[in-house]
């Protein structure tokens, strides 16, 4: 292993770990203002929205790939399917789609 690359990896690891761990130290045992608490409670749902869009349109040159996959996932999840079933179902459907196309 080249030491230059190893240092780069260590540096990358450090700057990735610090944002991951810092909040647990900064906010330990602190009662944050209720508005901030409310905002933080909103973060998971909002993050999911931002993680899905617009990325899902870019997974394939064929934009329908993402749209159809998302639709199948949405329908499966809406009717109460377990997350794993949602994932495997979308994969299976898209395999079929690319096989037919």
């Amino acid at each position: 292993m080249r030491s230059e690359i190893v240092w780069m990896i260590v540096g990358m690891g450090l700057v990735t770990y610090v944002p991951r761990v810092l909040p647990f130290f900064l906010f330990k045992g602190k009662e944050l203002p209720s508005f901030v608490q409310g905002v933080l409670k909103n973060v998971p749902s909002a993050t999911l929205g931002a993680l899905i869009f617009p990325g899902i349109f870019y997974i394939n040159e064929d934009i329908w790939f993402g749209i159809l996959g998302a639709a199948i996932a949405f329908i499966a999840a809406y009717f109460g399917a377990n997350v794993i079933i949602v994932v495997l179902g979308s994969i299976a459907f898209l395999s079929l789609y690319s096989f037919i196309m």
């Binding site: 690891g13 770990y17 909002a46 931002a50 997350v83 949602v86 979308s90």
Partner: protein
């Protein structure tokens, strides 16, 4: 089986979708790392130490471009700063525990593990986080190594179909909460709109776009709810 063990197991099971979703991404990373000229050891070391997909991909393309190490590290920091927001949110939801345990499991916080943990109905316990992290981390590291060694990813069709996996998981996590609460629908939709605008206008880098879109949506919806509650409160007084 004691409580910690059963929580660990639940976490491990919740991580199965993540492990499936990581596989094709990590296999491709291993393959690309090899073409970029990294050694097997360097490839696995990066997945072991950095453990953040997007920034690992970016570092490869920057290496190819001959970018300096300092700039690569800086870019990594910017791409991964969004985890700060996720950890802050998770800190509100996780069980009280020694800081050292949190310091260990916070290493495993990614977009995916965060989403799974944060959307959980029950309290996020330390055991749960360890189980969830372990299966996800193993998939990422092992598949990076396999991708390098095989020098090939999955068959084209399967690879393409599997690219939906993590998105399908995000949808699978979001939809049940959307059914229960209009607020969740608004939060996700607003953040999605902001992120799409940022992406289409190239206004912000991807790392910042997600952070700003999430924060804007979370703050706006919280403010609106505050106003609504106040109105309701003043009506109640009359």
């Amino acid at each position: 089986m004691n409580k910690t063990q059963s929580e660990f197991r639940k976490g491990f099971q919740s991580g199965v979708s993540i492990a499936i979703g990581y596989a094709p991404v990590a296999l491709t990373f291993g393959l690309l790392a090899k073409t970029t000229g990294l050694s097997f050891g360097e490839t696995v070391l990066m997945s072991l130490i950095v453990y953040a997909g997007a920034s690992q991909y970016i570092s490869l393309s920057l290496l190819t471009l001959g970018t300096g190490i300092f700039e690569i590290i800086l870019t990594t920091f910017i791409v991964n700063i969004r985890h700060f927001l996720m950890s802050a949110a998770l800190n509100e939801k996780c069980e009280e525990d020694q800081l050292v345990n949190k310091a260990v499991y916070s290493f495993g916080i990614t977009d995916e593990t965060f989403s799974v943990a944060a959307m959980r109905d029950d309290t996020v316990t330390t055991g749960y986080m360890f189980g969830l992290n372990l299966i996800s981390y193993m998939s990422w590291v092992i598949c990076s190594g396999i991708g390098f060694l095989l020098g090939a990813s999955l068959p084209q069709t399967l690879q393409e179909s599997m690219s939906i996996a993590l998105y399908a998981m995000f949808i699978g996590l979001l939809v049940p909460s959307m059914k229960k609460s209009v607020k969740v629908v608004c939060l996700a939709a607003l953040a999605a709109c902001f992120n799409t605008i940022f992406s289409l206008t190239n206004a912000l880098s991807t790392g910042w776009a997600i952070v700003i879109a999430t924060l804007l949506s979370a703050v706006i919806i919280e403010l609106m709810e505050g106003v609504k509650n106040k109105q309701r409160g003043s009506k109640g007084e009359k």
